[in-house]
Structure formats: C-alpha cells, structure tokens
Symmetry: none
Amino acid sequence: MAKIKLLYVEDELALANIVKDVLEDRGYEVLLISDGAKVIPALDWFQPEICILDIMLPNIDGYALGQELTKRIPDTPIIFLSAKNLPADVIKGFKNGGSDYMRKPFSIEELLVRIENQLGIKKAAPPAEKQKNEIRFGAYTFYPNKLLLSYKQEERRLTYREAELLSFFANHKNGIIEKKDLLLKVWGDDNLYNARNLDVYIARARELFSQDPKVEIITLRGLGYRFNVE
Amino acid sequence: MAKIKLLYVEDELALANIVKDVLEDRGYEVLLISDGAKVIPALDWFQPEICILDIMLPNIDGYALGQELTKRIPDTPIIFLSAKNLPADVIKGFKNGGSDYMRKPFSIEELLVRIENQLGIKKAAPPAEKQKNEIRFGAYTFYPNKLLLSYKQEERRLTYREAELLSFFANHKNGIIEKKDLLLKVWGDDNLYNARNLDVYIARARELFSQDPKVEIITLRGLGYRFNVE
DNA sequence: GCTCTATAAGGTTAAAAAAGGTTAATAGAA
DNA sequence: TTCTATTAACCTTTTTTAACCTTATAGAGC
C-alpha cells in the first residue's frame, strides 16, 4: 500500500528531526519544510494528505499558511502545533482552517493518534483521487489511464494534454489552481506561448463539461482557476 | 432552524451548570446527565448530534461510555473532557471512540470552537467541506467559491478581485479595516496606484450592496473602512 | 472660539491596457 | 493521411490608470 503523504512545517530543526523520524517509522512519507515561504510551491509535486503546521515560523505566520492551504487543498486536514497556549490562539487555529490544535510541548504518541483520527474522519468520506483510474466529476466519469471521459452513455476520447489537464484538476478540485503551476505540470514550462495554449485547452475543458452545470471552471484573473465540482 | 442536540455527561455539577448555560446561550439544546448509568437509556428519546463526556464519573467510566456510544450512534462525534492529563489518557480517549479530547481545566470558548469543528466535519460529511461556502451579508448571500453574490432571486457573478474584497470584508465585518491590510491581502502590495484602484472597487462594492441599507461600507478617512452588517 | 480657505483623501466615471475567451488556420507527429 | 498541438486573429471582460469632482480636516486670520 502506498504511504500516506504528510507535510510537516517546523523551524526548530532539533525537534523536527526527531518527530520526522518517528513519523517515518510509523509508515508516513514525510516532507519536512522549515521555511514557510517554501510550502505553497511544494504542494504541487508533493500533494500531502495531511499537514502538521507549527505556528511561529520565520517569514510567514502559520495561521496565514493554514488559510492558504485551506484555499488550495480544501479536503486536506491541518493539525496546528504550537507553543502559543492561550485558548484564543487555539480558536484562531480553528478559524484559520485547522482541524485540530496541539499545544507544545506535546507527546509524540498523542500526535500520532490525532493524525490517525483526522485521517479516519477523512477516510469515511472518500475523496483522495491519487492513483485512481476512475474519477467522478459531477455527472461525468474520467478514466485517466484510458484517456476517456464519459457522461451518461456517451464516451469521449481525450487527447493526452486534455487528460493531463483533467488529472491536474482532479488533484485540486474545489481549490485554487495557479496558472503557472498548471503550465509547469502539464506543459513542463510556463512561457507566454504556452499560456495562450492553456487558454485554448481551458475553453475545450469547459466545452467537455458543458452538460453538467455543477462542474465549472472559474477564472481567477491574474492568478489562475478554480475547478468546482458538486 | 432546529437546535442542535448536545449530550453533556458531567458529575461536577457546579462546573456542569455553568457550561450548560453557555451552551444553551449559543443555541444548543443540552441534555445534562450526571450519572453515567443513565446515558444509554436516554439515547433513544434524545438522539444527540454530539456528545461531551467527562471521563471520571461515578459508577461508569467515561471510556466505557465512549465505547458504548460509538457502537450505538457511530456517526455522532464525542469530545472527551478530563482532568486526566497524561498523553496515555488522551490516546485512550481516541481509542475509545473519541473525536477530540480536551484537558481540564478548559476554556469554554475553546470547547465551543472544538464542538463547531466536529459538527462542521460531520455536517458536510460526504466531501468534508471545511471552508465556508455561504456567507450572509444582510439580505445578500455571498458564495466565495463560486464568485457569486445573490440578492433575493437575482444572482450576480463577481470577478476575482471583487470576490477577494468581499472575502476580506467577511472576515472583518463590523470591525475596523485598515486600507493597507486590505491592499496587502487583495492586491499583494500596497502602493499608491493600487490605493486608487481600491477606491474604484469600493465604489463597486457599494453599488453591489445598494439594495440593502443595512449593509454599509463606512469610510474612516486616513485609515480605511468599516464594513457594517445588521 | 469662529469662519474661511488650502489641501489632501477619497468618490465617481470613463478611457486605456491587459488578460483571457473563442474559433479557425497552420504546423507537426504518427 | 489523420489526429493533435500550437499559433494566430479577433473579440470580450476585467483591471488599471487617469481625469475630474466632492468632502473632510487642519490651520490662518479674525
């Protein structure tokens, strides 16, 4: 079975490395980032299933990061971890996208159990379109390996780029998609020509999903898109 | 709207009554039980949507109770509340059906937020939707993820910047909004040109809300705005 | 203390510029 | 060929910039 991908943002490296070791020992694939500014760019290639965030980070504040993550990967649970112990801080954590909040110092065993708890909650509802070969978008079904999109009885063959685009959407549904990330992932390079190219594919994707108004690609001018389903 | 039914099991009555009052004040329908043995029989007629359990109870142990509740009402979240502070106790709480665990003494505000968090996870159970999709501004409803603002039957598509501005307002309603914070959040940079730009968007926002006089954007000259609702 | 005036902040509207949408034509691979 | 990807052309919408107008506020002079 594939390992669960866990993003861990912490700047105290002495602590972080111990925790990381334990987590890896328990079978998680851990990405440890100590600089808050590097988190967002990492989302694309790492695609975490759960995030552990320290709050007091250099450069960026953990709360802001939580908010940003909630926008981009809305179904992924976030556990805040902080020496800020006041109830007001905890509340702020929940308001900024947190699914749980642990005070420092904490017990690693307790952290492990809280992680499992969050994952358990998520498991019950079944998103996680990681390596699936069947993905539902509203009334459509997308078969990434077969390059096929079906709607009711109709089947439609997709081209390679169309399928790549839809796969990217599948991994970012109901979240913010930056144009440059999309270009990098699907075209491997974000230059001006490819940007226009993407516009053409977006038009095509909109046409593909035109039967079901619940599936919509919303433009975030100057930034990218939102792919909304349901 | 029907009140949310909350089962609260606690034997320290002095504490319990204070908490109960606050919960009722926040709109919950609270059933307080101080004798653990009476919990199971009450399930049938009360049918709670969330349970708060103290662990050290006379007659029956809170963990056992948690286990029993999990069997009988498996989708109902349980928050343990206990003076037993060791990580091992917390872990035991999660293993016995807990969805969260708070150490005593606790802040009531924090409890309220954790309750909401649990309900939020459950409410939108299939696809766990953490972020708000619907925000009310007086007679208007704002759908930040759909970039939509509705008033009575009318729906109005918003542009990305308009939606960002309204999201910022949503997070600061009835409070002071500093121009520079707003610029930083919505434009990512506060320089003089963007400042004029913001003026244009404020005019547009005022136009958007012109149907309901209860929603108003008040200028705080030299500082920013107040976004008043209600 | 008043009143007047200068000035800067902000309101409003329109025009310019940039981003993106759409469709068709062209180029390139299979 | 034939199918796919890219480029181009033209159009629409959004955002930015500019111009001009209104209003609040501080200070000068009374």
